[in-house]
């Protein structure tokens, strides 16, 4: 596409099927301690692959 570049992001619908293992980091525990954000967290399943 000439004027639009779609940046690769995780397929959320697919993640509903394969996700939910619950192994990821919880809350703001070990970095900010004052503002929860998930965008910068990692999926533990993907990290191990």
């Amino acid at each position: 596409m000439k004027r639009i570049k779609t940046i690769t992001t995780r397929d959320m619908a697919e993640s509903k099927v394969t996700g939910g293992c619950g192994e990821c980091q919880t809350s703001c525990q070990s970095a900010s301690k004052t503002s929860c954000s998930v965008a910068n967290q990692h999926c533990e399943q993907r990290k191990e692959k």
């Binding site: 992001t9 619908a13 939910g20 990821c24 809350s27 999926c43």
Partner: protein
Amino acid sequence: MVIDAASGAVHSVDEVAYDAIQKLDEEVTGAGAGAAFSDSGLIDRIASEISRKHGISEDDAKETLGDIAELHEQGLLWSEDPFEQAADEIKIRQSVLKAICLHVAHGCNMDCEYCFAGKGDYSGKSGIMSAEVGKRALDYLVEHSGTRRHLEVDFFGGEPLINWDVCKEIVAYGRELEKKHNKIFNFTLTTNGVLIDDDVIDFTNREMGNVVLSMDGRRDTHDRMRHSKTGGGTYDMIMDNFRALVDSRLENAERSSEYYMRGTYTAYNKDFAADVIAMADLGFRETSIEPVVSDPDVPYALHEEDLPKLYEEYEKLALEMLAREERGEGFSFYHYTVDLTGGPCIYKRVAGCGVATEYLAVTPTGDLYPCHQFVGDDNMIVGNIYDGITHPETVGIFSSGNNIYTRDDCKNCWARLYCAGGCAANNYHSNGDINKVYRFGCKLHRKRIECALMMAAAREK
């Protein structure tokens, strides 16, 4: 840049495409975007308007509109939200205890003006955690962690290093539990740095993941709020210690990025980008800075009218980081480290913070609170490590009906899948209700996410 809120898709667009999407968006009604695309009169009108405004041919404009229609068909623009119906199920699946914040010391060797913990002693409830309480807290975590394998334990305070021997004893006990129960503990530490010595450096390098080092950036900024017990600034007391710890981490590939220089900005340093850059200039490559959350009447409080300046600073920081990356001098900022492809699944993004369910704070005497920011508030105690949850009604406030679809502010927010609903403690402390969003914080968080996505788009170019 255009973001499709429901799918989380991010598109880097030029002005023509941006305009076209905006015009289409104004026409999308309850009938959905599909209806707009099948209205050939509407598409012709928009193509003509764009063609005139941007000085391009109508064919070119129509090609762009065709591309936009294709993205809609792929579920990447004006997508329906398929997750709202499943939100409650999604929340329930995330309900084992995964992490605890161990308040090993309610006391501090510093006297910071903005401390949310009542200068370390949590409203006069000072105390030092015994090894027995700490070990029982780990047992409690293991007992309530179900099949979850990775468990997180942060040593927090006050200042945890004033109770360092107990921290080490708790870690040793954790390593025994790992073998017995097939668990993996990730221990972390949050410290002001005063008591960092060779033993702390050696032990944390061997045994601890992330180490959060509290430092506010420029010397003047830091010393203005982070005081010693005798009243002076603490910059000179901590910098060599932080330098030694980080240098030592850099020698270990596994640990080299497992630290954060973590600052707080206030009304005194609204030009906080300079503080983050000061951290980077000192050679600290993992940085983080958070806005102070305070009583609105204190002189250092941040207010709504500060937002334009704060937005400007986030943008300035993002652009400076990109410029440094190009020069091979890049560094990381916590909120801009967005993992677009390897980030969390939809379960995590809907459920958000695990406060009171996946995560608990443990006081020196073993009381349990929903998170570290509620410690000291008698209305928020949920139980203790010996008797378990004794106030299920308080846990219930956090666990039931608390997700990004239960709050209108979140449900209609474009950033919902990148934020996951924000901080319950900030909500509570600003509005007295964990379900009423802290709008000032939301505005800043949206700006941070916008900058992070802008940086991702710039890198792709």
